[in-house]
Point group: C2
Chain length 178, copies 2
């Protein structure tokens, strides 16, 4: 951030009065610009013993596999966001969304909130965001071609929990790649 989004004057990074960390502060109007982590909402779409994965058609991580997920928008609830992303990326309609895993990714300022969701029908399709969309059994998951560590983490927990017949909600961190 270099300029104030409200008045266009330059901003400076300094600690405001009564605060304890640096913020961008406008030299002109004095406004303090707070920056905060962004929330990514996503879904494990379930159909019988299979789940729906998408091969990304866009950067970053184009051609690698992922679960439907994307930034939560203003004006929508977290489950609605996960449902929207699932529809946009895979064409699938999910309902009965259950919150499943929250992942802190501190170094990139993201929080993933992943749901489990039941596909209403086994219908899905290629979309502008996904070059391939496939219902996979556990033994078909391309573990070495997953796009993001948060997605790998979600899938690891998912199959372990499914084997035990329970899906407790968890908060877990994901760090940088080694």
């Amino acid at each position: 951030m270099k300029y104030c989004s409200e008045c266009g004057a330059p901003v400076q990074l300094r600690v405001p009065t009564d605060d304890d960390r640096p913020r961008y502060i406008c030299d002109g109007c004095g406004r303090i610009h707070y920056e905060n982590p962004k929330m990514v909402v996503g879904c494990v779409p379930e159909w019988e013993d299979r789940i729906l994965l998408c091969r990304r058609n866009i950067e970053p991580q184009k051609d690698l596999w992922t679960l439907p997920a994307g930034y939560l928008e203003n004006g929508e609830g977290v489950a609605d966001g996960a449902r929207r992303e699932t529809l946009e990326e895979s064409g699938a309609i999910v309902d009965h969304l259950e919150p499943y895993l929250l992942i802190d990714i501190v170094h990139i300022r993201q929080i993933y909130l992943m749901f489990r969701g039941r596909m209403q029908t086994p219908e899905f399709k290629v979309t502008p965001e996904s070059a391939e969309v496939v219902l996979m059994r556990e033994d078909q998951i391309p573990w070495d071609q997953l796009a993001f560590r948060a997605i790998e983490k979600t899938l690891r927990y998912y199959f372990r929990d499914r084997a035990e017949g329970r899906f407790p909600f968890r908060v877990r961190p994901v760090g940088k790649r080694d």
Copy 2:
């Protein structure tokens, strides 16, 4: 938003190519400025059969009662943020944080994530943000003097769940006041 935070040129609100909702786009450098909901993290600090409430010493809702909660900062995990807010607002140190309730507040673009946390000791204090800090039993909660609807919702679930001896994780909306 009126100006680009990167180059200082005016922005316009319009729908970018391959998008479906209006964003602020810079006339100069072409950057798209996405705006997303912010996450508030907080805690129900527990000591034996009591919980810790704070009377706000700052606006908004000055003089009304709340649980410790505030914006998640860049660079911190959600549980760390809840722990920090608890310390800043009440002087209490909590551990064993358990995720408890996620609240969508769509109309103000906030997501509350409330934890339950065990106070290490029954120590706490008045802080710059809290004019009073009090350990309360259920029958002492000032239901008609709570600062925010998300806090009221959290406390309603909390005492109901505690009576039943179980604290399932939930996602719930909070709407505008009537």
